[in-house]
């Protein structure tokens, strides 16, 4: 145990006093710079932050407006009449499509342009 009394308060680390002093000076400078940064840019960035927040709110409101306008709305009587007129204006192609069986509709759906045979003159 005497051996341990001899070491007193020494530790096995070897950082010299000069090195530790430099380290402390560096930490001191860094802290002063950081504290100064924390004080100053706040005043400069505050208007920018407000502008960014206002732009974000405007963007959200614009998106909400677009989403609202793209939803189906209740139709007034004139529109309903026009739609009915449009539906009455049916041609032979509409009758043809209405009369297709499920299999024929499926074949039509899978039909690709490459499959059209070349027309020979």
């Amino acid at each position: 145990m005497k051996e341990f009394e001899n070491i007193q308060k020494r530790m096995p680390y070897r950082e010299s006093d000069d090195y530790v002093k430099q380290l402390i000076d560096h930490a001191t400078d860094q802290a002063i710079n950081k504290a100064a940064e924390a004080r100053q840019p706040r005043a400069k960035t505050r208007p920018l932050r407000w502008m960014a927040a206002a732009a974000a709110v405007a963007a959200v409101m614009a998106l909400a407006g677009i989403a609202y306008n793209s939803q189906p709305t209740a139709y007034d009587s004139d529109t309903l009449t026009a739609m009915a007129d449009y539906n009455d204006d049916r041609g032979p192609i509409d009758d043809f499509l209405d009369n297709l069986t499920d299999e024929e509709a499926q074949l039509l759906a899978y039909y690709e342009i490459e499959e059209i045979p070349e027309i020979e003159n």
């Binding site: 145990m1 051996e3 341990f4 001899n6 070491i7 308060k9 020494r10 530790m11 096995p12 680390y13 070897r14 950082e15 006093d17 530790v20 002093k21 380290l23 402390i24 000076d25 930490a27 001191t28 860094q30 802290a31 002063i32 950081k34 504290a35 924390a38």
Partner: protein
């Protein structure tokens, strides 16, 4: 000087000139690794400088800066733990760090003494470090750690007993 915003920088430089060395070694004894100690010292400096307005002058300034350094050092240890792991479980990690940063020709007794210290639970190690190395009074340690004096006396006593036992077991 620190209370005056115009002279704060000058006061802070003086404070660090007088106590920086003690702060570094206090932190180093807790976190053990030099890089960790450097980071904690940096964070401590920032907290001291930016929080100086919250120091009401009721206690000693040194006690206040020691409490910031201790809190930051313990926070650094907590960051090294896994989920739900206590910082007391970091003993072997810290011992490995200490050995890695010890020169090959280091005094064997000094290394063994540090190993003995790193077997202690954190609160006992803190009490021992501040009493033995920093020579702080129990009242000061109580203010720094937020523990009561009798708990600290018990912690210090247990720490010395464990260190003696460890050294006896590992003495060649």
């Amino acid at each position: 000087m620190l209370a005056d915003p115009q002279r704060r920088e000058e006061g802070f430089r003086r404070l660090m000139r007088d106590y920086g060395d003690r702060l570094y070694w206090h932190i180093r004894r807790i976190v053990v690794g030099h890089d960790d100690a450097e980071d904690v010292l940096q964070e401590t400096c920032i907290k001291i400088l930016t929080g100086i307005d919250s120091f009401r002058g009721e206690g000693k300034l040194t006690t206040w800066i020691y409490s910031i350094a201790t809190r930051e050092a313990l926070q650094s240890l907590r960051r090294q733990t896994h989920l739900f792991q206590s910082i007391d479980a970091l003993g072997s990690v810290l011992t490995n760090k200490m050995e890695a940063e010890t020169p090959l020709d280091a005094n064997a007794a000094e290394v063994l003494f540090q190993k003995a210290l790193l077997t202690l639970p954190t609160q006992q190690r803190l009490a021992f470090n501040m009493r033995y190395y920093d020579e702080l009074s129990y009242d000061e340690i109580a203010r720094i750690t937020g523990k009561n004096v009798s708990t600290l006396k018990v912690n210090y006593h247990l720490a010395t007993e464990k260190i003696k036992k460890y050294l006896k077991q590992h003495e060649q």
